[in-house]
């Protein structure tokens, strides 16, 4: 039997879309600047940082993007939950999609500005996690900066998901 306090809750559906090419561009651009400002005479070290979105390397980036988008969906669980299907099986084949989407069923009072904020925070989180991972391999001394940035983006996401336009009303209980 459904909970009686939920039956009058109005919701709406919003979708956040993240274009893969935009994410890769940001990662490649950051990688280029990081490599360019690297204090080294070794061009090999430099190009490894800059080649973040190149053939082969981009597969690792895709894995991190896929993982992070899953984490974001989990972080937004109240709005993103989808019931698992009976007998469903999953395979870990690398999937490269042109767009990453997060479909959310949000309360009616959910603000458009919050949607925009979430969109920007999640984009930042995706880029930060990719940079953290890539730099942990190619430029370890800089990885922690990006880990801090990513953790902060995730914290902001967790705060923002509870923003509302109006007062949050708790239904009265007779007992």
């Amino acid at each position: 039997m459904p909970c009686c306090c939920k039956k009058n809750v109005q919701t709406k559906t919003v979708t956040l879309v993240f274009k893969r090419s935009e994410l890769l561009y940001d990662c490649a651009n950051l990688g280029f600047v990081l490599g360019d400002t690297m204090r080294t005479e070794d061009e090999h070290d430099r190009h490894q940082v800059q080649d973040i979105a190149e053939d082969g390397n981009v597969d690792r980036v895709t894995r991190v993007l896929n993982l992070t988008i899953s984490k974001v969906r989990e972080a937004l669980y109240p709005y993103t939950k989808v019931e698992a299907e009976n007998g469903e099986s999953r395979i870990d084949t690398l999937v490269e999609v042109p767009y990453y989407t997060i479909e959310m069923t949000v309360p009616e009072k959910f603000s458009k500005t919050t949607q925009t904020y979430l969109e920007n925070v999640i984009h930042e989180l995706l880029v930060d996690r990719v940079m953290e991972d890539w730099l942990s391999i190619t430029y370890p001394e800089k990885a922690s900066i990006w880990r801090t940035k990513a953790d902060e983006s995730l914290r902001q996401l967790n705060i923002a998901k509870n923003f509302r336009m109006g007062k949050k009303l708790r239904p009265l209980h007779p007992w």
């Binding site: 490599g35 090999h44 430099r46 800059q50 190149e54 053939d55």
Partner: protein
């Protein structure tokens, strides 16, 4: 991201000419009026024994060059041999480079490869005929390979593709 192929061709005639010219000039400058035989020996020429030695050295240097650049070479070669290279076939290597490779350095790659082979071959030649100068050429060859790797490692900034509406 589509890779960029850079095909580098080293003309064997250019390599041989530079090796012979450099060793000839070195011989000329080392003349003291009494060392005629030593000078003649250090000047590499087209005689069979000279040509064979220098072609062997060029082949060795080219093989080493490919090792140093192996990160960028894709080969499905399943057999190998030690046959001396011919003086009529040019040396070619195709480098498979990332899409953000800066093609402005392509000439530097080709000239650096040329210099590496020339200096390595002269170092080997002088190890036999003019030991005093051999180490200098090895040092030069080392600098050449560093320059080639530096040139290959240059990257361009990514460009953003403006989304179509």
């Amino acid at each position: 991201m589509a890779r960029k192929n850079l095909s580098v061709t080293l003309k064997i005639s250019e390599l041989l000419y530079e090796i012979r010219n450099k060793t000839w000039l070195t011989g000329q400058s080392r003349q003291n009026g009494q060392n005629f035989e030593e000078v003649a020996n250090m000047q590499n020429n087209e005689d069979e024994e000279h040509a064979n030695q220098v072609l062997r050295s060029i082949g060795n240097a080219f093989a080493t060059l490919k090792v140093r650049l192996s990160e960028y070479i894709i080969s499905s070669q399943t057999t190998a041999n030690d046959i001396q290279i011919s003086d009529s076939s040019d040396l070619t290597v195709t480098l498979v480079l990332p899409s953000n490779y800066n093609q402005a350095t392509a000439d530097a790659v080709a000239t650096g490869c040329h210099q590496y082979i020339v200096n390595t071959a002269i170092a080997e030649w002088f190890t036999i005929t003019n030991k005093t100068d051999a180490a200098d050429y090895l040092t030069l060859a080392g600098a050449n390979i560093t320059q080639v790797r530096e040139a290959i490692s240059k990257r361009v900034r990514p460009t953003r593709v403006t989304p179509t509406p």
